[in-house]
């Protein structure tokens, strides 16, 4: 196929334009003006905030003694297995040498949720 030089130049220009436009679009859409989320659930919290959330659920359970509410709060992290985030964090804290008070609270909550695991047993001295 033979194109006029003028037409070829237009095609090349158009393709360059599209490429530059795409790069600009990616830059704007992902870095400069990315989609901003609001009204998010706790399940998408950054890991450190998620850990804080779980520890606070355990602390609130200790203060209020409301297991249903604790279960409901944890279901916001894992609807299928609300106890899983507690056990996962507690075991991570055991390995990392986390705060013993946090560990004890998490272990007590895990116990109340019937999800206690062997690594957490030493933190359950007060349980019957």
């Amino acid at each position: 196929m033979h194109l006029e030089p003028q037409a070829r130049r237009w095609i090349v220009q158009g393709l360059i334009g599209v490429a530059v436009g795409l790069v600009l679009g990616f830059l704007i859409g992902w870095w400069i003006l990315p989609v901003e989320y609001t009204n998010t659930p706790p399940s998408v919290l950054r890991r450190d905030y998620r850990d804080e959330y779980i520890v606070m659920v355990a602390t609130a359970y200790e203060v209020e003694g409301d297991l249903d509410q604790a279960r409901e709060r944890l279901a916001a992290l894992d609807p299928d297995s609300p106890a899983a985030p507690v056990v996962e964090l507690a075991e991570r804290l055991v390995v990392a040498g986390g705060d013993s008070e946090d560990l004890a609270r998490l272990a007590r909550l895990a116990w109340a949720l019937d999800a206690i695991t062997p690594p957490l047993m030493p933190y359950l001295e007060d349980q019957p």
Partner: protein, 294 residues
């Protein structure tokens, strides 16, 4: 001139087309992934719950700096609203005085005020910054890789601290001796309180607080001398749960007070009953705790 403009038209059209395609892709097809968010971005119900749990952690630990850290970035309106709701709910439920004191102290530290907390701020309080039990101020950080010694499968035997039993609260100086529904025609629903000493003599100058979920009111006995030196009263509305306490220690002595209809009488209009509450000062010798009256 026109020819010169037309010369760059394909480039311009391509640029616009590419930009539009890029934005559609990045905003709709493959937007920034919804991970690593932080509390202020949560839905309002979750934000309020976050604040509530942070406040309850203060009740347990007394660590103000930790609470401030947890509330960082949250709107003041959210913090105020959630704190007020929590304090009002706890006041109406007649939660332990020490818990109420801590919540009230936290609210004050966060520059939040609600009428229900005033009674707990006006009374001698235990130092709120003293944790009920020892808590390490070490921040929660489990992202650091464990050192070899920390990977020991058996955790160190750690004595689990007792549950957060709060400091024993001294007995309230007054106790409930009488709680009677009064049904008198022509009287607006109210709650009247008579305060007596251990010998049955009416006491003037005693500060009495009436609390309900949205607020609190204060009265001092003896300001209506025709009703007696120990008399004080409050207007009251139906369908509100009231609790009653004296200024000392802010202990709710009576909870669950509601303006309710009087028993029906034949051929008479049904009245809304008021309440007459009689409080008696404990004698110094009284040492055994008594449960709070229902």
């Amino acid at each position: 001139m026109k020819g010169s403009s037309m010369q760059w038209l394909p480039l311009f059209v391509g640029l616009v087309l590419g930009l539009v395609l890029g934005l559609v892709y990045t905003w709709y097809i493959a937007p920034v992934e919804l991970v690593n968010t932080y509390p202020p971005l949560m839905r309002s119900g979750y934000r309020w719950d976050w604040i509530r749990m942070a406040a309850l952690s203060y009740v347990a630990d007394g660590d103000l700096e930790q609470v401030r850290g947890r509330l960082e970035g949250l709107e003041r309106e959210d913090v105020a609203g959630a704190m007020e709701a929590l304090i009002n709910e706890y006041a109406a439920a007649g939660r332990p005085t020490e818990t109420m004191r801590r919540l009230s102290a936290l609210a004050q530290a966060l520059d939040v005020y609600t009428p229900a907390m005033l009674v707990y701020l006006n009374t001698p309080a235990a130092p709120v910054n003293t944790p009920a039990f020892a808590v390490s101020p070490t921040p929660l950080d489990v992202t650091a890789p464990p050192t070899p010694s920390e990977t020991t499968p058996t955790p160190k035997p750690t004595r689990t601290p007792p549950p957060p039993t709060l400091t024993p609260t001294p007995l309230p100086p007054f106790r409930l001796t009488e709680r009677e529904q009064i049904c008198q025609p022509g009287q607006a629903p109210h709650i009247e309180v008579v305060v007596r000493d251990e010998n049955g003599e009416e006491l003037s100058g005693v500060e009495v607080w009436l609390m309900w979920p949205d607020g609190a009111d204060r009265a001092v006995t003896g300001l209506k001398p025709d009703r007696g030196a120990g008399y004080a009263d409050f207007d009251a509305d139906p369908d509100v749960d009231y609790s009653l306490g004296t200024s000392e220690l802010g202990v709710p002595l009576v909870t669950g007070l509601r303006i309710e209809p009087c028993p029906e009488e034949k051929d008479k209009e049904q009245l809304m009953g008021s309440w007459r509450i009689v409080l008696e000062r404990r004698s110094a010798a009284t040492g055994t705790p008594e449960p709070t009256a229902p």
